[in-house]
């Protein structure tokens, strides 16, 4: 059991890295925020009721809103800030 537990523990980080959107100790604010934004848009597109709610609030058609969100997912926060140590 001990070896199992150990290997799972040691592999956990590796396993997590397989997924898009996970972070690590050197993740920057910008990277994290981009993921948040993309997740948010994905959630809107995925939950029809939220999309309907937003379309009422924005007075846009649902399809157009969906398209907008998809477009925004490309670069939700703008370009990455220059690294300080450069």
């Amino acid at each position: 059991m001990s070896s199992d537990a150990k290997s799972v523990y040691s592999q956990q980080e590796h396993l997590q890295m397989k997924y898009v959107g996970t972070g690590h100790a050197d993740t920057s604010k910008w990277e994290w925020a981009v993921n948040q934004h993309r997740d948010t848009y994905a959630a809107y597109i995925g939950h029809y009721s939220l999309l309907a709610y937003n379309s009422v609030a924005e007075n846009e058609s649902i399809g157009r809103l969906k398209y907008q969100y998809l477009q925004k997912m490309l670069s939700p926060c703008g370009k990455p800030p220059k690294k300080e140590d450069d």
Binding site: A5, Y9, Q16, Y19, A25, W32, A33, H37, T40, K79
Partner: protein, 1189 residues
């Protein structure tokens, strides 16, 4: 000249290889392996332990009791074919065109061209040799019989070619000896130092050896080895120059005779020394210590007595060449005398066999500071390898890590130059090979494309693993080759292995084909298809075609249904092989088709359309092994067809199958039976046809006594018969078989019994009429009573199956059966008694069904009387029989009454034998469950105490039954007393015992309600004793795991205890408490206990920085559980504080928790992310979140 024209020579070249069906069909080989190895899955409860049987068998021969404990060398279990791996040469590095770019390779680098030329040379040489041989034979014949007629020519050729491998022709020998000598004498030609020629020289060495006179097999082996010894690589020399003296270089400072010994001799010597040590003469001091001081007289030895001094012993007793010649009692530490010099302190023991490899490490005169960088590296690698190979586990682990980390620094050359020769050592053991292979695996991963020049070297060593008999070795080999091909790339792999595809040695081609299949599975079949196409349709050599088709076969075996997308292409690539001019190619093509069809089942018949015609035509045209292969392919393709087609094709093939029923060839018989089974299994074949056409001949020619003698024939015949019965109905088959139950040959009776058992279990007995029924029962009883053999399982299963399937119809025969059983219970032989008791257990249910309760009760009493049985195996079966009776009769009506039976069982619980324990605890548990009221509470308490010991049984089933029994008893007599016993048991030292006790406590809580147990547990926690407190926590953990939702009523009760435990100094406290929190949290999901959970989370959280893997795992799991029950956003609030902490190690932990959260509940996090404000460059606000209607 073209040698391939000569058919006779070609065939004879391969006559020594293993038979087609063993060599080419891995599936068969594997099933054969299984038949040799003991089956792990089917537990034969009815025989004495295998070890005992084996022991009695062995006692007659010269039997070495230590044999089982001796480390197994791989070389010992290799057959002659597998041992051919040692004839291969670890080839020098090759040119890597990818790394070199456009540069022309240097002259001394081996390029693809060089190797192909070498291959060509080797082939031509072989051809010339064959010619020379033939010519000489002919001349000799002519001399002998000058007037020989022309028709003897063919026989001459064949005799000449058979002699090429085994036979000795003095003429040929002398011719080659002289030529070799002359070559050796002209160093200008052969010793010019390019490695290319060096390797060629090796090849030249090899050739005369093959035809040379092999005086003894050992002699030839030594020659092979000495060739290895010559390779300076093995001695750790820096540069691979041919011609370095092998022996002088090992330890120039202290020449010892050791280095001149081969590893085998060293091992012999070590055993001998061991034995000598045990058999050394007694000295007076030892005798004085053994015997009492008085009561006997010490006699002077007669004057004529001279102690035995055999010369051989004297020789062994002489430790060094300069030692004393006379016999002497070995000194205290005889080890040093024969063995290697003492190893330095920080290194593991060097076995004498490994001395040659590791000699430089033992030479203390070497100053490490003065070594050049390369030498230093080499030494470092050697040290690490020694630690990996012989070190303690921690040492090994560290060394493995170091060698991996520094792999690129060391470079591939020095690494492989040391690892690979170690792997070729003749004294290598399984474990050592496993470790070295592991090293290669790790190193490969690090080296990546640097490995390219060494691919062939590695393959030579790893390929033999692919045909190893050990399953895990095969898997390891596959893994390495897969990694190798990923690291080196397809082009390099093909370029490296291409020359081996038409190698002259069948062994090389076989392993190469398997390796190619692994490459295909690693890099994808499509990548390899163009190459395969070229190879399989090669016009130049049939060997290439053969190997190519074999690669396809191996791919099918290796990848199974993953071949489906490429099935059509693969079949098309090799369909020409069915009509190839070479018989071997036709055979392997058919076998490959069989493998593909098997892998594709039940799909893909379209792909085989093009080969159906040649296959069916082929079955008419061929004989012998080729026919067997074709039939095999047919057998695997027919089940894929649509019903109407399969019917048609079956009718086409059936006459040939029926004709082959009579074949004397065992292999063919097996294949024919299998094909019949496959054909009959399809929908398209109808019962009347089978009855009319197949059955008569099948039973006439195949159901004969001789078939029962070979295990695999036996198996196949039974399987095919069962399949036939499935088609035509049980009664018909049983009718044909039933007379065999009274046959005079026991193996045959057994085969009949097994077939009847399977048919009856599959199809029931409703279609069996009165007359047949009588015959059957008569037959099985006869067979049952007449059995003599040790293996009683088949008869037991058979009788039980028939009796159980007749149900009520068996009533008239029951008295007779029971009479037999009672008689056999009284038998002298333990086996017979055991089998009878087992059978009672199996047929008890049917007896009850027939209303024979009186008979059952009678048997119960009989079994009860036999509880004094001394053979544990039999006692176990008797208990099992009793259990069977109790189960059907019921507690109330049981005779002997439960109140008499149980006290009789209490002492048996103390029996240490596993089978007795298991059956006894099952029976006791059963009684506790259903009939606890028949026994006094006091007796149950006594049993509780006995049960405690069983908690440490090795077998899990026993421990589980015990724990369950605790639950039943607690239910029967109330939990208080049982709990007191269990809580007391928490104080014992043994961990296993405590763990089982905690499980038992949890079970008691589950069966009697948590409220009966919790107060006592909480109270017990106040005891300031580590083991007890941990035990309580552990019990709580199991408890909450078992009671699940019921936990909601107890959350607030245990919270203070958990608070305390989570704040404890002891790590294990916090770990176990975290586990409790996990189970508790998951149990109360959605039940409104969030306040308590949030509180507990605050106590769990500070533990996230723990380092110990167990603790951190438990803590992270508790947090995961919180994510489920408390919601992801609550946990996210905890997490946010550390994601951008200035300290990296804090960030690492927090991101890990965040990632777990994110993967687990990504969606739930969206509303919970913190508000971020835009800055001058970027927009961070999620404005859509702020929309509001």
């Amino acid at each position: 000249m073209d040698v391939w024209e000569n058919e006779a020579i070609d065939k004879s070249q391969y006559a020594t290889s293993i038979a087609v069906n063993d060599e080419d069909d891995q599936a068969d080989a594997e099933s054969h392996l299984q038949s040799i190895m003991p089956k792990a899955t089917v537990r034969n409860t009815f025989s004495a332990p295998a070890s005992t049987l084996a022991e009695t068998e062995k006692e007659g021969e010269s039997f070495d009791p230590m044999d089982a404990h001796r480390a197994r060398r791989i070389a010992d279990r290799e057959d002659e074919y597998k041992a051919r791996r040692r004839n291969r040469i670890i080839s020098p590095e090759r040119h890597d065109p990818f790394a070199a770019g456009d540069q022309t390779p240097a002259a001394d680098v081996r390029t693809y061209k060089d190797i192909m030329e070498e291959q060509q040379l080797a082939k031509e040489r072989e051809a010339v040799m064959a010619q020379v041989q033939k010519r000489m034979e002919e001349e000799k014949e002519k001399k002998k019989r000058p007037s020989d007629s022309a028709d003897a020519g063919s026989s001459q050729i064949s005799s000449a070619s058979t002699k090429r491998f085994g036979g000795v022709t003095p003429l040929a020998k002398s011719a080659w000896d002289t030529s070799e000598a002359s070559e050796a004498a002209t160093p200008s030609r052969w010793d010019s130092a390019t490695p290319v020629i060096g390797s060629r020289k090796n090849r030249w060495d090899e050739t005369p050896q093959r035809i040379g006179p092999d005086a003894t097999p050992g002699g030839s082996e030594k020659k092979v080895r000495s060739r290895w010894d010559e390779t300076p690589v093995m001695l750790g020399g820096a540069t691979p120059v041919v011609g370095a003296t092998p022996y002088g270089g090992i330890d120039m400072m202290t020449p010892s005779h050791l280095s001149a010994l081969t590893p085998e001799q060293l091992q012999e010597l070590r055993f001998q020394r061991d034995v000598d040590d045990r058999n050394r003469p007694w000295v007076d001091e030892e005798l004085d210590a053994l015997f009492p001081p008085d009561g006997y007289e010490i006699l002077e030895p007669p004057a004529s007595y001279k102690p035995l001094q055999t010369p051989s012993r004297k020789l062994l007793a002489t430790p060094t060449p300069g030692g004393t010649p006379a016999y002497q009692i070995p000194a205290e530490k005889p080890k040093d005398a024969y063995s290697v010099p003492p190893t330095p302190a920080d290194l593991p023991f060097v076995k004498p066999e490994d001395y040659q490899f590791f000699a430089p490490l033992l030479d203390e005169t070497i100053d490490e500071d003065q070594l050049s960088k390369d030498e230093g590296n080499e030494r470092k690698i050697m040290k690490l390898l020694l630690k990996v190979k012989n070190g303690t586990p921690p040492m090994r682990k560290q060394a493995l890590r170091q060698i991996t980390d520094k792999a690129r620094e060391f470079g591939p050359g020095p690494l492989f130059n040391q690892i690979l020769p170690l792997l070729m050592s003749p004294t290598l053991e399984d474990q050592e090979r496993h470790l070295l292979v592991k090293v290669i695996d790790r190193v490969l991963y690090k080296l990546d494309d640097l490995v390219r020049p060494y691919v062939h070297k590695i393959l030579v060593v790893i390929e033999p693993l692919l045909i190893d008999e050990d399953y895990y070795a095969r898997v390891e080999g596959r893994e390495i080759i897969a990694n190798l091909s990923k690291a080196a790339g397809l082009a390099t792999m093909i370029a490296t292995m291409r020359p081996d595809i038409d190698n002259l040695d069948e062994y090389v081609r076989n392993t190469t084909a398997r390796a190619f299949a692994v490459v295909a599975s690693a890099l994808g079949i499509p990548a390899l298809l163009p190459f395969l196409k070229a190879v399989c349709q090669s016009k130049k050599s049939w060997q290439a075609r053969h190997t190519g088709i074999k690669i396809i076969q191996q791919i099918a075996i290796l990848m199974g249904c993953a071949v489906l997308p490429h099935l059509k292409q693969m079949v098309e690539i090799m369909e020409g092989g069915l009509t190839d001019e070479q018989q071997k190619v036709r055979t392997i093509t058919a076998l490959s088709l069989a493998a593909l069809a098997e892998a594709a089942t039940p799909y893909g018949i379209e792909a085989f359309d093009s080969v159906l015609k040649p296959l069916w035509i082929g079955t008419r045209a061929h004989h012998g092994k080729v026919l067997a292969a074709f039939l095999k392919a047919v057998g695997f393709i027919i089940p894929l067809m649509e019903p109407e087609h399969s019917g048609f094709y079956t009718r086409e093939i059936m006459p040939i199958l029926i004709r082959e029923f009579q074949t004397p060839d065992e292999e063919m018989k097996k294949i024919v039976m299998k094909v019949v089974k496959q054909c009959v299994g399809t929908e398209g074949v109808d019962a009347p046809y089978v009855k009319a056409e197949i059955l008569p001949d099948f039973f006439k020619y195949l159901w004969v006594r001789r078939m029962a003698l070979d295990r695999r024939n036996y198996r196949q015949l039974v399987d095919t018969t069962v399949e036939l019965a499935n088609k035509v109905g049980g009664a018909d088959i049983v009718n044909r078989l039933v007379d065999g139950l009274k046959d005079e040959s026991e193996p045959y009776r057994k085969m009949v019994m097994e077939s009847i058992e399977k048919v009856v279990t599959n199809l029931g007995t409703t279609d069996i009429d009165q007359r047949l029924e009588e015959q059957m029962v008569d037959g099985i009883l006869y067979a049952f009573q007449e059995q003599q053999s040790e293996d009683t399982k088949v008869m037991l299963d058979g009788v039980a199956a028939v009796v159980n399937s007749f149900r009520e119809r068996v009533k008239p025969y029951l008295p007779q059966i029971c009479g037999t059983l009672k008689w056999r219970l009284n038998n002298k032989s333990a086996k017979v008694r055991q089998q009878a008791a087992d059978l009672i257990g199996r047929i008890a249910a049917v007896m009850k069904r027939c209303g024979e309760e009186q008979l059952l009760n009678h048997l119960g009493v009989v079994l009860y009387e036999y509880l004094g049985e001394e053979y544990p195996e039999v006692l176990g079966s008797i208990l099992g029989g009793l259990k069977g009776i109790v189960n059907v009769v019921g507690m109330a009506k049981m005779t002997p009454p439960i109140k008499d039976l149980l006290p009789r069982l209490t002492p048996i619980l103390r029996n240490r034998h596993e089978k007795v324990q298991e059956n006894c605890i099952d029976l006791v548990g059963r009684i506790a469950d259903r009939g606890a009221e028949f026994v006094s509470a006091k007796e149950w308490m006594r049993i509780c105490f006995e049960l405690l010991d069983m908690l440490k049984a090795h077998k899990k089933a026993i421990r589980r039954a015990t724990v369950n029994t605790f639950g039943y008893i607690a239910k029967a007599i109330g939990p208080q007393d049982v709990l007191a016993v269990l809580l007391n048991n928490l104080k014992v030292q043994e961990r296993q015992n405590r763990v089982c006790t905690t499980v038992a406590i949890a079970i008691v809580a589950e069966t009697c309600g948590p409220f009966t147990v919790l107060p006592a547990l909480l109270n017990e926690y106040r005891l300031p004793e580590l083991n007890v407190q941990n035990g309580v926590l552990k019990a709580l953990s199991f408890l909450f795991e078992y009671i699940g939702e019921m936990g909601k009523d107890y959350v607030y009760a245990v919270t203070p205890l958990l608070e305390d435990a989570l704040m404890d100094r002891d790590l294990v406290h916090r770990q176990t408490a975290s586990t409790v929190v996990k189970h508790l949290t998951l149990g109360v999901y959605g039940l409104g206990c969030e306040d308590a959970l949030a509180h507990l989370l605050n106590f769990v959280w500070p533990n996230i920085f723990e380092q110990s893997p167990h603790v951190i795992n438990a803590v992270l799991e508790a947090i995961e559980a919180m994510r489920v029950s408390l919601g992801a956003s609550r946990v996210l609030q905890h997490t946010l504080q550390g994601l951008f902490h200035p300290c990296r190690r804090v960030r690492e932990v927090y991101w890990k928790i965040y990632n777990n959260l994110y993967i687990g509940s990504q969606d739930a996090l969206i509303p919970a992310y913190p508000l971020l404000e835009d800055d001058e460059y970027n927009t961070y606000r999620r404005v859509e979140m702020e929309l509001f209607i």
